[in-house]
């Protein structure tokens, strides 16, 4: 047994150690590793701005930074976290690494385009960091006109260009996944044998491909208005700022599903693996991903209920927004049914999955509050909204990302991380998250608006709770960096399938070969066959 568990001689990390072998690689796994490092840097930069925000809000007076600086803090926090961390997080790292081995392929369909997407991401990131260093931008991550077009004196153009450029990275990743899932599946890997992680990424890719071009053209219109004095959104010339909001949210609402869908896919994998049970209602979970992607495109105007849109269209958008709850609930109920009478365990990835399900449920249900026309008028642009979308983006997307990272880390590196500290960090993230954001529901409902750097004295208790929770949350995020890095040298050798999972990616060595498989497998079994067949034999019959 001990003989078996050794890091294999040949694997993708050993195919050259030079910088050149990394920067010019076409291996999806190496590109995923470079994405992992890049988005981690962005995550901690975006996190620093969050630290600044929570520090300022620890006291009711605006005493740490000026209002202008505070505007830049929350803007840069939002832009970096949304466009440079959350959007690429699971797809570009875990999806990139795992989709080819999960479907039995040697690589993505377009390896060079995959590398190109990383370079495009870097260029977009450089633009944004340049703007950040030279003074930042203060429009909010939403860039609403006319302020962004004519009012703001900050670096709107370089940041907007950075987002425009990074968008193409997202488009190319999505395009690559769609073609790969269509054309690169191993013999016998039918659509309904695909892991739900792959289904979720297929739905995500559709959103990336259909939504991102719209934010691109919106940024182009904002650019020509700000740079050349064109008047597409300028009310002084008859232009309509609300049109900007429509176009912006046509992408930016589906963008939420770019963040959450892959996390839903990760959770499906985790729940099934750590219950040792076939996922309950496979096809319902698979199609609910597509349903979320489709519904995601027809609910955008719920961000604009108080922007002056007609009551009739607001009612339609309110109704459609409610209907997103159906496919979301299908997933949650199916996971619960999968857990029921399963051999449930409490490994670190599963702790994240439990956390995800709870936080996603709270985030989703408070979304229904906001989709309600009357209530939205009360809580619009308050901390209630801030808390809601952080429950989805942080409690949902980042919990899913971390759960996935802990689950596949032994596959990626061939080694296990520290079991105790990883559980401590998972609990810290969950507890810290709730202490940070639950008080914000209350403070928002009491009427504290978002994007202000001072607030009435009686709201201090809740804000101090929030800032204290953020400290715990932050430490919970730093801890994995330490034990992940330590595991690279000291970690126990994981072996090909440490969790006894059934997916095709676990049937190959850890870390995998550059070409993933010695021989392309033929798939004869159904996915998640935990009930009948021992895991290691489930796919390769």
């Amino acid at each position: 047994m001990l003989d078996k568990l050794r890091i294999p001689e040949r694997h993708y990390l050993h195919e050259g150690h030079s910088l050149r072998s990394w920067l010019l690689t076409k291996d999806h796994k190496r590109i995923a590793i470079m994405y992992l490092m890049s988005i981690s840097v962005m995550f901690f930069i975006g996190g620093l701005f969050a630290v600044g925000i929570r520090f300022e809000l620890a006291t009711p007076q605006g005493d740490f930074v000026t209002a202008d600086t505070y505007n830049k803090f929350f803007t840069m926090h939002g832009i970096i976290m949304v466009f440079f961390f959350l959007i690429p997080s699971i797809p570009a790292v875990l999806g990139n690494f795992l989709i080819p081995p999960m479907i039995g392929a040697r690589d993505l369909a377009f390896p060079r385009i995959n590398l190109l997407s990383l370079y495009i991401y870097w260029i977009g990131g450089i633009f944004t960091i340049y703007a950040m260093i030279t003074g930042g931008v203060d429009t909010g991550w939403t860039f609403y006109t006319p302020y962004s077009a004519a009012g703001s004196n900050s670096h709107v153009i370089p940041v907007a260009l950075g987002i425009f450029i990074a968008g193409f990275s997202s488009i190319l990743t999505g395009l690559n996944f769609i073609v790969t899932i269509h054309r690169m599946r191993a013999p016998g890997m039918t659509w309904f044998r695909l892991p739900l992680f792959v289904w979720a990424h297929y739905a995500t890719s559709l959103v990336q491909v259909l939504g991102t071009p719209v934010i691109a053209i919106t940024i182009v219109m904002l650019f020509v208005e700000r740079a050349f004095g064109f008047g597409i959104f300028d009310p002084a010339r008859g232009g309509d700022p609300v049109l900007f909001q429509h176009l912006f949210w046509f992408y930016s609402h589906p963008a939420v599903y770019i963040m959450i869908l892959p996390a839903l896919g990760v959770t499906s994998e985790l729940v099934s693996t750590f219950s040792k049970k076939t996922i309950f209602g496979y096809s319902f979970v698979a199609f609910s991903s597509l349903a979320i992607a489709i519904f995601g495109f027809i609910v955008w105007a719920h961000h604009m209920f108080v922007a002056g849109i007609s009551t009739y269209s607001a009612m339609v958008f309110s109704f459609l927004s409610f209907s997103v709850a159906i496919p979301s609930a299908v997933k949650v109920f199916n996971w619960t049914a999968t857990l029921y009478k399963g051999a449930v365990s409490f490994e670190t990835p599963m702790l994240y999955a439990y956390g995800f399900i709870g936080l996603f449920a709270i985030g989703g249900l408070t979304g229904l509050f906001l989709a309600t026309l009357g209530l939205d008028i009360h809580v619009h642009d308050t901390y209630f909204v801030v808390a809601h979308f952080h429950y989805i983006m942080v409690g949902g997307a980042i919990m899913g990302y971390l759960g996935g990272l802990h689950f596949w880390w032994p596959k990626i590196t061939g080694r296990m991380y520290n079991n105790f500290f990883s559980k401590v960090s998972a609990i810290m993230v969950f507890v810290g998250f709730n202490i940070t954001f639950f008080p914000q529901f209350v403070v928002g409902y009491l009427g504290m608006p978002r994007r202000y750097h001072s607030y009435p004295d009686e709201m201090q208790v809740l804000n101090v709770m929030s800032s204290a929770g953020a400290t715990v949350l932050g430490l919970g995020y730093v801890l994995p960096v330490i034990y992940f890095l330590l595991s690279l040298r000291r970690g126990r050798v994981a072996g090909p399938n440490p969790w006894g999972a059934s997916g095709l990616e676990w049937q190959t060595q850890s870390p995998p070969l550059t070409e993933n498989f010695v021989e392309i497998p033929i798939v004869t079994g159904e996915p998640y066959e935990y009930d009948h067949v021992p895991a290691k034999e489930s796919h390769l019959v």
Partner: protein, 261 residues
């Protein structure tokens, strides 16, 4: 049951020979590689449709709101140059199709010649666009602080400067306009903002297309393509036809607003 299927065995599916030199390591057969590339291109064109789609939405809304301004501004464009460019671009789609055909049937010289002809037509289009743009600069039809809209059809301003009530005797032109000069001065800018953004992005796509084609032409000249591998030619063809189709929509929307009156 056996769990072994060597991927090398699958090359036997390839119609002619086991290993085409253009076959990448992660594909099994040339048809699989080609299908992947073609699907990828179509997905890319889908993103392009949504990219231009945002502009078309803006155009639609403002055209409904400010129809008279759009009609007025549209009449200032030259039908001759616009019509000529439409013909040139449709012609270039034909030559592009011939180039793809040439590559398919393994005719190296024909492919190269058709590609060069396509690039020439593309350059003619861009040249005409330069003439049209410089005309706009001369007439101060570029939106921004220097924009001036002097219309002979607009309602004249009453002496007292009551510009918000259009004068009834304004029907000097073929059509009675409900907009005062100052309203036209403002709202025609929206038309020209969209005109420059739409045609500018279209022209940028053409420049990229010509750039792509010069690489493809060089590859064709070097004899890189044969009847089994001509994917790059086909993909540039798809792209070029897409750029052509965008213009087919832009021409009537920008040049032909209420021309019949």
């Amino acid at each position: 049951m056996s769990n072994v299927v060597a991927h090398a065995g699958q090359h036997a599916d390839s119609p002619s020979r086991a290993h085409h030199r253009a076959l990448q390591h992660h594909f099994d057969t040339m048809p699989q590689q080609k299908e992947a590339a073609v699907i990828g291109m179509w997905v890319f064109l889908l993103t392009e449709i949504l990219f231009f789609g945002g502009l078309f939405v803006a155009y639609m809304i403002y055209r409904i709101w400010y129809f008279d301004a759009f009609a007025e501004a549209s009449r200032s464009l030259s039908l001759f140059w616009g019509g000529l460019n439409t013909a040139v671009l449709i012609g270039s789609s034909l030559t592009m199709a011939m180039a793809v055909r040439g590559a398919q049937t393994n005719k190296r010289k024909a492919t190269v010649n058709w590609l060069i002809l396509t690039m020439i037509l593309g350059c003619v289009f861009l040249g005409v666009k330069v003439i049209e743009y410089s005309d706009k600069f001369e007439h101060h039809h570029v939106p921004g602080p220097n924009f001036v809209w002097a219309s002979e059809h607009a309602a004249p301003v009453a002496e007292g400067g009551a510009e918000h009530t259009p004068a009834p005797e304004a029907a000097a032109g073929h059509r009675k306009l409900s907009l005062t000069p100052s309203q036209l001065q403002r709202t025609t800018q929206i038309y020209f903002s969209l005109y420059f953004t739409m045609t500018g992005l279209h022209a940028l796509h053409m420049i990229i297309g010509i750039g792509l084609m010069s690489v493809i032409t060089w590859m064709a000249w070097k004899g890189r393509f044969d009847e089994e591998y001509y994917t790059p030619v086909e993909l540039s063809g798809l792209y070029w036809h897409f750029v052509d189709i965008v213009w087919i929509f832009l021409f009537p929307l920008l040049y032909l607003v209420e021309r019949h009156t």
